[in-house]
């Protein structure tokens, strides 16, 4: 029963709801659908140019035109990026969360420090590591030199640049995964551990059979976020190497082709769709896997 008047007044909530709805439709949902439509046309970024339907031509061009070799490299890079980031970031995040959950002295401080990079943002983080990884006078190279007698080019190395980008990405968002796991850990009832302790479980067993099943929901959330995040993030690439030295991913390519490429917009649209399909497959598989492990208590 709606308590705020009758007749025309009844439509006020709807009227106000139309504002976020309109913003969403115009700036996100609409463009998202249009991008899918564009992927089947020869749309150009020239005002007033005509657009015609070309079927799967863009998709064909993606993989069989002149620079399709680079395309495969981007896709492989994207998959490497996603797998490594998802596994390492969540692995380390979970590990640190479990450690901090034992009520270590100063755990709030550690927690805050590990989350700090997210607050600083990608522009600052990229520049900090730019300094750390400076090939001429960076501290990391001094360390390498002192330890292994070897120097690296870091973000200017064809073989290693992408690996360092992955490192920075994980360094930046590890605290995020850690927080979500901490939230999960704090919801586990303590008496379960007591019961396990009485039954003589060791640390690993209690983690494996008590903690892990009970924090499965936060696993699901983390998996979802890491997969979608890692597949669509490219700001870190833009801020460190700007796609040079074999560091292009699909998300970066979409940006590059849209923003600084030719005037053809069908190609990046098709790439967006392919990217979306890959995300969908991995998300469905990952969520199924983690969902299976969730238990009721």
């Amino acid at each position: 029963m709606y308590p705020f008047g009758k007749g025309m007044a009844r439509y006020l909530p709807l009227l106000l709801l139309l504002i976020p709805m309109a913003l969403y439709l115009v700036f996100y949902f609409g463009p998202s659908v249009m991008t899918v439509i564009y992927s089947f046309t020869d749309v150009k970024n020239i005002p007033g140019s005509t657009m015609k339907f070309v079927g799967l031509e863009n998709y064909y061009d993606l993989f069989y035109s002149g620079n399709s070799g680079e395309r495969w490299r981007s896709i492989t890079n994207t998959l490497i990026f996603m797998f490594v980031v998802t596994i390492v970031q969540n692995g380390v995040g979970l590990f640190v969360a479990v450690l901090l959950n034992q009520r270590l002295r100063g755990d709030y401080f550690y927690r805050a420090v590990f989350f700090l990079p997210v607050v600083l943002g990608v522009a600052v983080v990229a520049l900090i590591w730019g300094m750390m990884f400076d090939p001429m006078s960076g501290p990391v190279n001094m360390l390498y030199d002192w330890l292994f007698g070897y120097k690296d080019m870091f973000f200017a190395s064809f073989t290693h640049a992408f690996g360092y980008i992955i490192f920075v990405q994980i360094w930046m968002y590890m605290g995020y995964s850690m927080l979500i796991f901490l939230a999960g850990l704090q919801s586990v009832p303590k008496d379960l551990y007591e019961a396990g302790y009485i039954d003589g479980t060791n640390k690993w067993q209690s983690f494996r059979h008590i903690t892990f099943p009970l924090i499965a929901p936060s696993f699901t959330v983390n998996m979802l976020l890491s997969i979608i995040g890692a597949m669509s993030t490219f700001d870190i690439i833009l801020a460190t190497t700007d796609g040079r030295f074999n560091t292009r991913t699909m998300a970066y390519d979409v940006y590059k082709e849209t923003f600084r490429g030719s005037l053809e917009m069908g190609l990046p649209s098709a790439l967006s769709v392919v990217q979306f399909l890959i995300i969908l497959v991995f998300v469905v598989v990952a969520v199924r896997q983690t969902r299976k492990r969730e238990v009721e208590y």
Binding site: P31, V122, P139
Partner: protein
């Protein structure tokens, strides 16, 4: 539950190593920022010998940071306030089912997190807005602010959850007393939502302040640069002059770190409540 001593020691050791990995880069940046360029070249990582405060003056004036800060503040504050307002407008009727298809609208708004990448068409749209209106769209402050204002996604979801915990009888009582819908929403409900609004403000503001790709795509004029883009340009100008660049990093990071120490409790709770990566 008792925990073995050796395990505790090991935990502290691991945390200490992690801490080094997170704190040392910041300390090194601060250290480098106070060196003269010759001193940096001779000894890049040693402790600073002669403190050069003038680096900061140079970086501040050369880097045009005052201007970028103001831009960032405008974008972040306006778009965040608008985002909170439209999120309340969207979340309240959906949570209370005062509009038809509430369940569907809820799902539809949450879908915003999983849509195919809208970048291509969004870019084209912003360009065509600029073509037709001039003051709105591509490369305008207003266009960028409106683009960054969203009433969907995580903040909306948090608000819906929170509003459900506010008693419906309040709505009825206010209605009986003749309060109008709009007045009720902004004078009664919004003050009751303070904790979740704080979370929403923080999450939104961090996202907008740190947006890196958006400004590069939609704000190409120097007059419109926010701080993130400004820092990138600064790096472009001073390529390898790390003392100056470190000043730039510190100038941008210090206010954030200070602010963060005050709000970190809310922020951590907020991140726990709703997890989002933009």
């Amino acid at each position: 539950m008792k925990s073995s001593k050796s395990f505790t020691i090991l935990s502290y050791a691991v945390v200490a190593v992690m801490l080094v990995l997170y704190v040392v880069p910041l300390i090194l940046v601060l250290n480098v920022s106070l060196k003269s360029y010759p001193e940096y070249l001779i000894n890049p990582i040693g402790f600073v010998k002669e403190i050069q405060w003038s680096n900061y003056v140079t970086a501040w004036t050369e880097g045009n940071f005052a201007n970028y800060f103001i831009n960032s503040l405008i974008y972040t504050s306006v778009a965040t306030v608008l985002t909170i307002i439209v999120s309340v407008m969207g979340a309240f009727p959906v949570a209370r089912k005062y509009v038809k298809w509430s369940g569907f609208i809820y799902m539809f708004f949450l879908l915003s997190q999983f849509l195919p990448n809208p970048m291509v068409a969004q870019y084209k749209l912003m360009l065509s807005f600029k073509e037709s209106f001039g003051f709105f769209g591509y490369d305008t402050k207003l266009g960028y602010i409106v683009l960054k204002t969203t009433g969907t996604g995580v903040v909306f979801m948090l608000f819906v959850g929170y509003i459900k915990s506010i008693s419906r009888e309040l709505d009825e009582a206010a209605g009986m007393d003749g309060s109008g819908y709009v007045r009720y929403l902004f004078q009664m409900i919004t003050p009751l939502m303070k904790p979740v609004i704080a979370t929403g403000v923080i999450l939104t503001a961090i996202g907008i302040w740190n947006d890196f790709v958006g400004p590069i795509m939609y704000l190409p004029s120097q007059a419109n640069y926010p701080i993130t883009f400004g820092l990138k340009e600064f790096k472009g100008q001073y390529g390898n002059n790390w003392p100056l660049l470190a000043c730039g990093i510190t100038i941008v990071a210090a206010p954030l770190i200070v602010l963060y120490t005050f709000i970190q409790k809310y922020l951590v709770d907020g991140a726990l409540a709703g997890a989002v990566k933009s």
